[in-house]
């Protein structure tokens, strides 16, 4: 095989890798269009509303990115655990615990003069740590007791939800009239206004940085090698002297830390407090979709998060401008996930057939 073809080959491989999600997105949008037509609304107007909502003017685009940032973190969290063969469905709970941790450090700790720059760092670290610990419980139970991570992480979601509520109601707010915790001290805030008129904040750089770090850990380090080996062939990993238990715990903890960053950044940059909530914010569940559509690759996750952020943002505008019900956006989201997943299924079938042919040839 000539040398130059290797480059072409890898280029082709890359194109093939992104062709599915892109195609699925287009098909998903088309399905959405059809729904709009069926509902008797004007699809052109709806499309116009979509584009304007997502990137009609700089500040709109800034807001789209604001919606994207937490999804990058939670998408990375799900993808990272998945690489170790773990389905972290507990991002919601990790996110909530991280917000509580961010409030604790952001509200109650006052940095000494001259060290105010430490405040956001420590607040963020506390959030990441809280997420890591919350997910670590799941990892430890899985590694040493074989308890399935899906069950545990779902249960811990609810434990997290009610624990956060209890902490808020009894300890973190001045009185009953306030439906939120005390405000974070300003020294712990992440600054907004990367794009004027929008709330776009420096969390964007943290999110993109996290994507790079995740990529580096997964594909360049020994830890990532071990985690990926455990994720795809636990038997071979064990044979190779890799501690499966250690990999599971670490993968879960790192995944939780990423969820924690989502909660921390959101608290420090947007909410500046912990708001009372009776249900999940869904960043965690959306993260599953983002990871899947992003094909479990950090770069893919970033792009998929942008897509989902855009869809999220466009709902209200489409409703206002084109009278398109918000549910259409959910249909589009649903179809994108469906077509990506369906392609995965198709891939799986193709692979199986190929395997069968190799085996029997």
């Amino acid at each position: 095989m000539p040398k130059e073809s290797r480059f072409v080959e890898s280029l082709k491989g890359g194109l093939r890798a992104i062709s599915t999600p892109v195609l699925a997105t287009i098909v998903g949008l088309l399905v959405g269009m059809v729904c709009i037509v069926v509902a008797g609304k004007d699809p052109v107007k709806a499309a116009e509303a979509f584009v304007r909502a997502v990137a009609g003017e700089p500040r709109m685009f800034g807001e789209t990115l604001v919606s994207t940032i937490p999804l990058i973190f939670t998408g990375l969290a799900v993808a990272f655990a998945y690489r170790c063969g773990l389905f972290n469905i507990g991002v919601e709970g990790q996110y909530l615990m991280a917000q509580i941790a961010a409030v604790l450090v952001g509200v109650y700790w006052t940095p000494p003069a001259g060290l105010t720059w430490l405040h956001p760092l420590l607040t963020l670290a506390a959030a990441a740590l809280a997420g890591a610990l919350w997910a670590g419980i799941v990892g430890v139970l899985k590694a040493y007791r074989g308890i399935h991570e899906v069950i545990n992480s779902i249960m811990l979601n609810y434990v997290g939800l009610f624990m956060a509520d209890w902490l808020l109601k009894y300890y973190l707010r001045p009185d009953n009239s306030r439906a939120a915790s005390y405000d974070l001290q300003e020294s712990a805030w992440l600054s907004q206004g990367l794009i004027e008129g929008s709330r776009l904040h420096t969390g964007l750089w943290i999110a993109l940085g996290a994507a790079v770090v995740v990529w580096f850990i997964l594909f360049k380090t020994t830890l990532g090698y071990e985690i990926r080996a455990v994720g795809t062939s636990p038997g071979a990993a064990e044979y190779g002297g890799i501690s499966v238990a250690r990999s599971i715990i670490l993968a879960m903890a790192i995944s939780g830390a990423l969820s924690g960053l989502a909660g921390g950044v959101q608290t420090m940059a947007i909410n500046h407090r912990f708001n009372e909530t009776s249900s999940f914010v869904n960043y965690g569940f959306d993260g599953i979709a983002v990871a899947l559509v992003g094909r479990l690759h950090p770069a893919g996750v970033v792009l998929a998060a942008l897509l989902f952020g855009a869809l999220d943002r466009s709902g209200p505008m489409m409703q206002a401008m084109a009278d398109v019900p918000k549910a259409v956006i959910w249909i589009v989201q649903g179809s994108v996930i469906f077509f990506v997943a369906a392609e995965g299924l198709w891939d799986f079938l193709k692979k199986r057939r190929a395997k069968k042919e190799v085996k029997t040839a």
Binding site: T221, T222, R228, T232, S233, G235, E238, Y239, G240, G241
Partner: protein
């Protein structure tokens, strides 16, 4: 003439799996299809069974040209196939498996009695003894094979295709299978067996067709030909079926196992007081029917299972119950039984796989050096003739033989003091077997201790300087390599002989 294939051609992309193959099957014969792995035997039979559509060529069945659409069509025509990997439902009984898809029912309720009766009848008619009422998961592999054959007969197969039928059988079971095949032929059936084992061809078949790289090389009568002739036709060059080796010159004991006991996955005693040693410069073979404790023994020696008692020492160091990592670091190489589940991370590249187990040696400050891994991969690819020579290819995309070469190459290149090789040539073709056998003997000659665990008696007899026979979790006999015969080993493996 029962069946005639003319100019059968099947392409997979750029690969021509079958290149204008002609084949004639006479009624009432046992016809062997001989060829190396990947030669195209199974492809050809899968076409006949309706699993693939040929690109060219015609099939003449009982004098009429047919196009076989799918397996159901093949079955309707009277063609049955027993695959290498059995397709049975483990939790169903024997009878339920046999009638699956052709159930006897009364008012939509399965008539179990009638099914059992029918199965009893056909099993008596063909001398294939099975108990219709037991679950398939609880019977031996040999019996499962009978169930598969009965399944085909129940569906009215006149032509029976057996894909590598002896791969999983003991010598005695192979003997039994031979009798069954003779009986089926006497009852008017016709049999095609797909195989790469030369001895079987001469032993079982009336005629043999040799296929090499998708082309038909020759069809000849089995009688009057030798293994060497067939091997030459199959591989296309002269091959050494027996590895040349000098008598062993063993030195100090490297592996010492004393009073080892262990349980299997279901908590049943699998090893009972096993003691033996392997010295530097010798190959010790462990023979036995599958499931007599060999897997548990290897797992205990390599750290994949914790023994319940006894000790394992390597070069005097107590390694009992240590982690796989510790044991590897103590200089133990392991060619595992299951190359796809244990030996390789299939979704990793060849370069990533050659580092498996030693990946920490490629690390500085937690970061892997891919350059070094590729260098090692290239060295192994060159020394062990891995094809295609691409360190960046996924292990998944290599053929079984080349996957095995990567593993053998990796383990030998690590330069261990003790090499534990389990079924190192399972499913490989003659050329690759010869290559791996030579490497194991070379390890021995380089002063390494080699423990060879295999279900293939030929392999054990060919390579081992001393042979230990395992039966029901114990080492029941030791036989010197040059004194072993298939008969005496086979007897010992079944629990007979002085030691039991």
């Amino acid at each position: 003439m029962l069946l005639k294939l003319e100019g059968m051609t099947k392409r997979f992309g750029s690969l021509v799996a079958n290149d204008h193959i002609d084949l004639e099957i006479r009624k009432g014969e046992i016809h062997a299809l001989l060829g190396e792995n990947g030669a195209g035997k199974s492809t050809l039979m899968n076409i006949l069974y309706g699993l693939y559509t040929p690109d060219e060529g015609r099939i003449v069945w009982k004098g009429q040209e047919v196009k076989i659409r799918d397996p159901r069509h093949a079955i309707d025509l009277g063609i049955g196939m027993v695959h290498q990997h059995f397709m049975l439902v483990p939790v169903f009984t024997v009878a339920e498996n046999i009638i699956l898809g052709k159930e006897t029912a009364r008012n939509h309720i399965l008539d179990v009695k009638a099914a059992n009766q029918q199965v009893r009848e056909i099993s008596q008619r063909f001398g294939l003894e099975v108990n219709p009422e037991v679950r398939v998961e609880s019977i031996s592999v040999g019996q499962q094979q009978r169930v598969e054959i009965l399944k085909a007969l129940y569906r009215g197969a006149e032509l029976l295709i057996l894909d590598e039928p002896t791969a999983v059988l003991t010598p005695q079971e192979v003997e039994e299978l031979g009798k069954i095949m003779k009986r089926l032929v006497a009852e008017g059936h016709t049999i095609i067996i797909i195989t790469h084992k030369l001895k079987e061809v001469l032993h079982l078949a009336d005629r043999v067709t040799v296929i090499r790289r998708g082309k038909m090389i020759a069809t000849l009568d089995a009688a009057g030909h030798t293994e060497d002739e067939l091997a030459q036709l199959m591989v296309g060059r002269d091959v050494e079926l027996k590895v040349e080796k000098t008598p062993a010159e063993p030195k100090d004991a490297v592996l010492e196992v004393e009073h080892l006991t262990a349980t299997n996955d279901s908590g049943v005693q699998a090893l009972r007081d096993v003691s033996f040693h392997v010295r530097a410069g010798e190959i010790v073979g462990i023979a036995g029917v599958d499931g007599n404790g060999q897997s548990e023994l290897v797992a205990c020696l390599t750290g994949l299972r914790k023994p319940t008692g006894g000790t394992v020492r390597v070069r005097g160091v107590d390694l009992t119950g240590q982690t796989p990592r510790r044991i590897r670091e103590a200089g133990v190489g392991h060619i595992p039984e299951d190359r796809q589940r244990r030996g390789l991370v299939l979704n990793f590249s060849v370069a990533e796989n050659v580092a498996l187990g030693d990946h920490r040696a490629f690390t500085s400050r937690g970061v892997l050096s891919f350059g070094k891994m590729v260098d090692l991969a290239n060295r192994i690819i060159k020394n062990f003739d891995v094809r295609p020579p691409r360190p960046d290819y996924l292990a998944r995309s290599l053929s079984g033989g080349n996957q095995q070469k990567v593993i053998v190459g990796r383990e030998i290149t690590r330069n261990p003091n003790l090499m534990i090789a389990v079924q190192p040539t399972r499913g490989l073709d003659v050329g690759a077997i010869e290559f791996i056998h030579r490497n194991l003997v070379a390890e021995r000659d380089a002063g390494k201790a080699v423990l060879l665990v295999s279900l293939e008696l030929d392999e054990i007899m060919n390579l081992a300087d001393r042979i230990l026979v395992m039966y029901k979790g114990q080492v029941v006999a030791e036989v010197a390599g040059h004194e072993a015969t298939e008969d005496n080993l086979g007897l010992l493996m079944m629990g007979g002989g002085a030691g039991a």
